[in-house]
């Protein structure tokens, strides 16, 4: 009896020792496999800012620019309006274009096709490095005015037309003269009745859209 009790206690003792040993191993184990880590950070955060691309326009004082209508154009008439176009963003730009959406009297938008000989309104864009003389339409710069977009019918501007100087640095601008003209052409009105396909008594609405694209993206090493 006594011998049997002693045998039982011995077997329990082994289990307890094994349990305690396992607990010690779990607690102490990580210390056995630990590694070294080192880190560094910039003391103050780096700032990364994106650029802006903005194109703005305003009338060149005292010109009315686009803010007032052009009325009663007769063949041979031309009206010059003056605007300042500015790349007011922080990014340089390229691919400067002008598109004009035209609505209204067809004969003022598109040239007639034979036998119709009507000639539509023309738009010409010129620039001047110096200020424009708005009394006589001349450019005060010694180099004279630069034709940015040659005279073309309104219908041509349905597709955006490129400027000769198509790149604008950030904050740079162009002093533009926008000329709208009705080419000289012959029409005879009899007894107050306008001829067919006439350019007379017409009206068109013009929406000018100047567009620029950001400069080519770059990769900088520094």
């Amino acid at each position: 009896m006594r011998q049997s009790l002693h045998r039982t206690l011995s077997s329990w003792r082994g289990l307890v020792i094994a349990f305690i040993g396992g607990v010690l191993l779990l607690v102490a184990g990580p210390s056995v496999f630990a590694s070294l880590t080192a880190q560094t950070s910039n003391a103050s955060p780096q700032t990364v800012a994106s650029g802006t691309l903005k194109l703005t326009m305003s009338s060149t004082n005292p010109s009315a620019g686009f803010s007032t209508s052009i009325t009663n154009l007769a063949p041979g008439d031309a009206v010059n309006r003056y605007i300042d176009l500015t790349n007011s963003g922080t990014l340089d730009s390229q691919g400067l274009t002008l598109g004009i959406a035209s609505t209204g009297t067809a004969s003022l938008i598109t040239d007639g096709v034979a036998p119709v000989t009507t000639k539509a309104l023309r738009v010409t864009v010129r620039s001047c490095v110096a200020a424009w003389n708005q009394t006589n339409g001349t450019c005060a710069d010694a180099g004279g005015a630069v034709t940015q977009i040659a005279s073309a019918p309104l219908s041509t501007f349905a597709s955006a037309q490129s400027f000769t100087d198509a790149s604008l640095a950030a904050a740079a601008g162009l002093r533009l003269q926008i000329q709208v003209s009705l080419p000289d052409q012959n029409e005879t009105t009899t007894n107050g009745v306008l001829p067919t396909n006439t350019v007379q008594n017409g009206s068109v609405g013009l929406t000018y859209t100047f567009t620029e694209v950001q400069r080519t993206a770059t990769t900088t090493n520094s």
């Binding site: 620019g65 154009l73 007769a74 100047f210 950001q214």
Partner: protein, 173 residues
């Protein structure tokens, strides 16, 4: 004036685009004139006059009205005359006289300004070189000789060509 700026970064090749947009209206002029009886308002179409009692009344007073939106430098009047009845009598001659800076007294047949002969024709054109302001009118007297025989009808037309309005101008503003 609307200003739009778009910076697109959706794909690697996308590029920013800036645009400035505004609108404007452009209208064109019209030119022309009509012939009406003295003092009548302008309507389109030719003026037809029956000369029924020429012996008693050899005059007709008419106005040449500028219906243009521009001043006229001149205009061309065309007369067409036909006999009302059959016969082979020669066509009568019609003469046009302008009353400049005045008006015709249709009763007395007198001009309160100064008169100027514009020309005469049986059937044909007379070029009038008198300037007329927008909305203005020229006071004319059409006359024929008293002994022109049977009644006849005259049709007065007017035409304005491009050359009869001012040359183009360049405006800076």
């Amino acid at each position: 004036m609307t200003v739009v700026a778009v910076l697109s970064m959706r794909v690697a090749l996308a590029a920013g685009r800036g645009a400035a947009t505004t609108s404007q209206t452009v209208t064109s002029a019209r030119w022309g004139s009509v012939v009406v009886l003295q003092g009548q308002s302008a309507t389109s179409g030719a003026l037809v006059i029956d000369w029924t009692n020429v012996k008693k009344n050899p005059y007709q007073f008419i106005d040449l009205v500028n219906t243009s939106t521009v001043a006229l430098l001149g205009q061309t009047m065309t007369l067409s005359t036909t006999r009302n009845g059959s016969g082979n009598q020669p066509l009568p001659t019609i003469s046009l006289t302008l009353c400049r800076s005045g008006s015709w007294d249709a009763t007395a047949g007198t001009c309160s300004g100064t008169t100027a002969d514009l020309g005469s024709t049986t059937t044909g054109s007379i070029t009038v070189t008198e300037p007329v302001a927008v909305g203005g009118r020229l006071a004319l007297r059409a006359s024929t000789s008293a002994g022109t025989g049977s009644p006849f009808t005259s049709t007065f037309s007017s035409a304005v060509s491009r050359a009869q309005i001012p040359v183009g101008s360049v405006v800076n503003r």
